[in-house]
Every structure is written in C-alpha cells, then in structure tokens.
Subunit: 426 residues, 2 copies
C-alpha cells in the first residue's frame, strides 16, 4: 500500500516502517542497575526474578475460622449443628515449629494467614460457627482442603515472579516485598538526544529575537519522553546548515541511545536533515504514509537510530507515537501500556486518502443521555495544538479505508478522559 | 442492591459508597506551587491558564509554497499552467513589520509558519508549482484564505489553554512553551499516611522475628500511590491495640490529607480498626459489596478520610482501585486516565453472587489466529498475588449479573499489555 508524493520517492506504510525500524535497532539496552524496591516502580525489570522460597511458605488458613478435621463436619447444618472443642488459638505469624495438633472432635481457632495446626484438614469459616460454652457449634460442612492455602500454591521455589523486560507494577513490588526482597535490578533509563533545527527558533526561557518563534516541539517531546522513563540529552538548536546538523547528530549518537531531530525535513524549501544523516550514516525511511506527519522518517548512524520529526508540534507528536514509542520498546525489550480506547458515534464525516493512516483529532464526550459521541475537530495545518488541548482523542483511519461516515460507530484512542456533559457531572 | 453478611450490618454497593465518599471529602487540596515547565508533566494544573496573546500571533502559511493573490490562480491546471513572478522569499520567523507586498501576477516563496506577505490571499503548495526561469508556473487553483493559518485561529488572547484540575500532558507543555511560558502552577502532591496493623508483620528490610511475615501490602500501596503522584507518610506498623491504632490514625490525620489503615478489619477474630476510628471520628462505610475485598470501608476523622483496607495484598489492591483512587481524584478535583479495556471470549464460566461487584483476575491473550481470549485464573483467597503477576486483567462482573458463561464476549480492564501467543511474536 504505497502512495507517491511529489518530492518523496515514495511514502512507506507504518507497518513496513516499523519492520525496518525493528531491524535497524541492533543494540538493545542491557546495562542494568540495582534500585530500592519502592523506586523500582515504573522501571523495566533488568533480569528474571525467581521466587527464593515457596509461597506461602507453609499451609495456612485462607479465612478467619476454625481449623478442623473435615470428617467432623460432615452432616452439620443450621438445623443439625455439631459441637467441637476448641483447644488452641492461632494468629497469622504463629511459630510454625510449635503448632498444636488436633484430634477428632477438636478444633483450633485460626486467623486468615495463620499456619494450619497438625492433624487439621480444613478450615470452617467463622460465619458458619457459633461459640457455645467452652466450644463451638458448627452449622456447615467443609471438604478436606477447603479454605487452606497450600505451601507453594502462590509461588513455587525458583519460579519466575518478574520477567526481564516487564514494566514493574505495584503488585510486583508487593510480591517482591512478601519474599523480603528490598532491591530490584532494572534496566538503565534510555538516553535520548534531541536536536532542534530551524533558524527561526528561540529556546525556552530565551528572549526571542525579532521574527523568532519559541521552540515548543522540544519541551513537548522531552516531556513525552520523560513519561516513558527516558533521560534527555539536549543538543540545543542547530541553524539550518547541513554540516552543523551532522556534527550535532554525531554528538547525539555518541552520548545517547537514540537521537531525535526536529524540523528541516519537509520537501520544499529545505531538506537538510536527511542530507545531514546521509553524510555520516544511512537514511532508511523518509516519507511515512501518515497524516499529519508525512515528512517523517529515520536513519541509522553508528548503529543507533536517528529520527526525523516535524518541527510542528502536532505532527511531531503523531510521528513520536508512531515511530519513537515503539523504538523505545525495542531498545528496552518491553511493552508499554496500550492507550485506552472507546467506541462512539461519529458526528461528522471524516475523509482520508487511500493508503494513508490518518490521525484525526477528536472530542469524545458523553451526552446527557449517556451516549458516547465522537466529534472531529477542525483541522488546518499540523501546527494546531489547540486540536489536542480542546480534544481528548485520536480517531485512526486505517490505510485501507477512505474515511468514516457520519453516524458510524468508530473506535478512538483516548488521550485524556471522556468529557462528561454537564448533566452527568457532579 | 444490598446483601447481608454475618458480622457486617450490611454490605454497601460501590456506587452508594462512592457517593458517601464524595460527600465526606469536604477539604479539597487547593494549595499550589510553581514548577518549571518540564517538571509539570503529570502534575495537576493548579489554576486556569489563559493565552497571553493570539496564536498564531499573525497570519501565516500552513504549507511550504508560494503566497499568491487567489484570483491569479483561477483556471490554472496541469494542462493550463499560469506564470507568476517571484519577488521575495519568506522563512518561518521572518520579521512581521517588514513584510513585502505583492501585486497581481506576483508571488512570494514561503515556508510553513512564515508570515503571509501583504496583499497575498492564499498560498499554493510547492507540489502544485514548477520553477521556470526567474518565476513559477502554477498548475492548480487556490481559493482565498486557502493554506493560511489566521492570527488567533489556534488560541485567542485570554482563552483558557489549560484548566485547573487537568492532568498536565506533553501537549500542554507544548502549548505553554509556544507562548514562552516557562513555569506552571500545579496543585501540591496529596500526602497519604499509611498505617499497617497486625502483630504478625515485619517491616521491609527488617529481620523478621519467629513467626513474622513481611509486610507486602504497604510497599505495594505506596508504589500505587506514587504512580498517582502522592507523597507517602509512613506511620509504621501498629500492634493490634485499639488505643495505639487510634493514636496513629490521629497522627496520620494531622500530617496527611488522607489516611490508609491496612489489616484488622475483617469480622471475626479482630475488628479493631473500625473501633479505633470510632473513638476519634466516625465510620461511614464498613463492608463493601465487592469480591474480593468485602471488609473494606472508610470513616472521617477531623474532616479527613480514613480508609480501612485489607492486610492481604490482592484484596487491598482491589479496594484501593475502588475507593482510594476516586478519593484522590475528589481531593484534587481531577480525573486520572481510565484503564485500557479490551473485549475477548471467556474460556470458562465465572460466577458472582448477586448484588456483589466481582473483580475476577484473568489472563487476556491473543491466540495464533488473532482472537482475544480471556482466561479466568484460579482464585483461592485474597492473598494470591500470583493471580496478578500471572494475569494481566480484571474482569468486572457487575452487581446485577450472577456471572458470565463460557464463550461470552466480555470486557476486561487491562492491567498490563495483552499476552501475545508465541506465533504472533517476533
């Protein structure tokens, strides 16, 4: 599925570009570091972590109740309660080497998590028991093994509990803590070098000269990268000069795992970045079958990927989602969380050229009646940041469609939560 | 929709509990701080931010091409090209007070983002133009206004560009940067105090005494809170003593915006936390119609919410999602991103008591044929962390259903990405 476009040899489809990108990323990040358990949250696991022992480490009760010999409960019911003696009480954390032993007709009061006394084969929940005198009356039956968590049932000694490449989540922290683990091995953060090109750009915080505009794409990309756990190397702004751009890219390749160059890639007045890459490496993709963001691509310099993104923020953000996020996944051997998606009714027709994957900025809102509707935003130019701040979603039109009709039920990637009509709020 | 359960007066449905929670949170976080633009990412905006000027600040070109008088292009086509003189060249960032003026028959070469010269009414894209001699031949028509981004089209002076309570995203950073804004006002982070109760608990990093088990719930909740941008106040572990628990809760209420107490809430052997709250405040909900996690609830002490969560990590995590995440949203007046959801075919019947919202841990995987299937994990006891580390989703059975049948098409909250069958990987 290719489309010719004047100036670009040809536009390359997203899937083909990603295939080339995977092949181009030959140097994965493998260096790791040890960090404290709590600071490992959100990092990428650097080595398979094995359970250092069985968990639970012994048979234990899954409920609050009474440990019994299951046979003693057979036939018990609210109409036919069975009496048992209570010979001891066990709390979670009781010493496992000194457990009491029960015989027929006896029971042990037991807390959730406490070790099962010797001889007991089940636990009857406290709800099915009435205290009477020095003992209990049980009003239900349990089968052997019921309400007992077996040693090693949760994790067996040596089993992998966290895999290399997994994003570390709160429950991984919980599992590690339950084994007494206080540090984890995580991959070091990817280092991403960003170079802006453009004679017209003023850096954030500078007083812009006459006719200069603020560089908004770099801070936007830097913050998107920080959300993905990357460290930023700021290569500054290069004036529109092929040799200077080449030098800066070479510096980025030395210092970082990946280089992003913004601006200077559209066919027309200037086309400096592909030229600058070609001087010291190879351009692999230039011209991507997406809208907005066609003049995107990447090359390889010194075995490291160098991305050419637009200088215009909306196009750059779409290109970033399409190319850079997967590149960081390939570098780390991980998978980031997918974007939440919702379906809703499209309020207006949306057109897309065949062979192009279009990213239409939309507003997803819930009407007073509870229906989800998808409103395409007016699109004029890839610089329209307001389409992102006013909208909250991206409607992606795949290459094989020429758009969607008004009233179509469409799926949308949510960039921020659904907008609730005033009636539904409180 | 209520279910009686022995020991709890009655179980309260999730929606009713959330309604009570909203009403209980009377002190929102309003203190804010100024942070640099890049460190504002992921924080909650502390005040409405208004556009300090029109954006774009002047009419500018939306494409690379030639600024023209639209009428000069009427009738032009590849078969009938029209010749125009090129009198100047304008780059993005050109000085707006010194723009050239064009007359009929003239054009100005122009870059995307460059100001429109005086007299021009449209821009013809470079793709529709051929350079010939000192001028150009145009092969297409443009209507007045075409390919021009009007002053204020993206943002008008004074318009709100970022609302109080919004979670700050990369594009907000981009918008702020494009106006030259270098700092943002964000709400301070919520302070959450966590107290663990339980005679059997050993703190992370301690050498556990005989019969002690590691506190895994606290580090898990602390990391879940850090993902939501909260600062943690660790109140340590309190032994099972009502007065000590009350004292610690009072300390948490003094130091934090919200207090979480884990353990000691199940009806049975112990019921200390509700008692400890009642001594210094009021228990509002105790017993929630969810599974796992029934013995959850909250109270109010000194106008601050105090949550009673399970000491068992899986139950605590479900309770956290159901009660604490919304509480932090209410405190901040914000909305966090929804969890991604997918639909798939259920491989096994799942039962749920009527009136109860069940959270079934599942594995969502894509088969070799590309179908998404949802496999419920074996569930025994709320302590089974392996159901979270082996699984990647939660199937939520609503109160009005008694479960789902094998083969049903069900919607699942994804906790981590879909598991791809080996055949689909590469």
């Amino acid at each position: 599925m290719r489309e010719r476009m004047r100036g670009f040899k040809e536009l390359i489809g997203v899937e083909e570009a990603l295939e080339k990108l995977r092949n181009a990323i030959t140097r994965r990040i493998t260096d790791s570091e040890r960090v404290s358990l709590l600071s490992a949250i959100g990092r990428i696991c650097g080595e398979d972590l094995h359970a250092p022992q069985d968990y639970p480490p012994y048979d234990r009760s899954a409920v609050d109740g009474y440990a019994v010999i299951a046979e003693d409960t057979f036939g018990a019911s609210p109409m036919n309660p069975i009496k048992l003696k209570v010979i001891a009480k066990l709390e979670a954390g009781a010493e496992v080497s000194e457990l009491p032993e029960i015989r027929r007709g006896e029971s042990v009061e037991i807390s959730t998590g406490a070790p099962i006394p010797r001889g007991a084969t089940a636990v009857i929940p406290v709800e099915d028991v009435e205290k009477v005198g020095g003992g209990i009356e049980i009003r239900g039956q349990v089968y052997p093994g019921q309400n007992i968590s077996r040693r090693g049932e949760d994790f067996k000694l040596g089993e992998i509990i966290l895999r290399k490449g997994e994003l570390i989540r709160p429950w991984h922290i919980g599992v590690a803590a339950s084994f007494g683990i206080t540090e984890l091995t995580v991959l070091r953060r990817p280092k991403v070098a960003i170079l802006s090109t453009g004679d017209e750009l003023a850096e954030m915080g500078e007083e812009p000269g006459a006719g200069h505009i603020y560089n908004s794409t770099k801070p936007m990309l830097a913050s998107a990268l920080s959300v993905l756990g990357c460290d930023i190397i700021d290569l500054g702004i290069s004036r529109d000069d092929v040799n200077k751009i080449s030098e800066k890219i070479a510096e980025g390749v030395r210092k970082g795992d990946l280089v992003i160059v913004t601006g200077g890639t559209s066919i027309g007045v200037r086309d400096l970045v592909p030229e600058a890459i070609s001087k010291i490496g190879e351009v692999i993709v230039h011209g991507l079958a997406i809208r907005p963001g066609k003049p995107a691509g990447f090359g390889v310099v010194g075995e490291k990927p160098v991305f050419m993104l637009s200088g215009f923020p909306v196009a750059a953000l779409i290109q970033f989602r399409v190319l850079v996020t997967p590149a960081i996944e390939y570098l780390l051997g991980c998978k980031f969380d997918p974007c939440p998606r919702v379906r809703g009714r499209l309020t207006r027709r949306v057109a897309s050229p065949p062979g192009i994957r279009s990213f239409v900025r939309v507003r997803v809102l819930r009407t007073a009646s509870g229906e989800l509707v998808v409103e395409p935003l007016r699109l004029t130019g890839s610089g329209m940041l307001s389409t992102l701040t006013r909208g909250n979603g991206l409607l992606i039109v795949p290459e094989e469609l020429e758009g969607y009709e008004e009233g179509d039920d469409v799926e949308v990637e949510l960039l921020s939560p659904i907008i609730e009509s005033e009636v539904n709020k409180r």
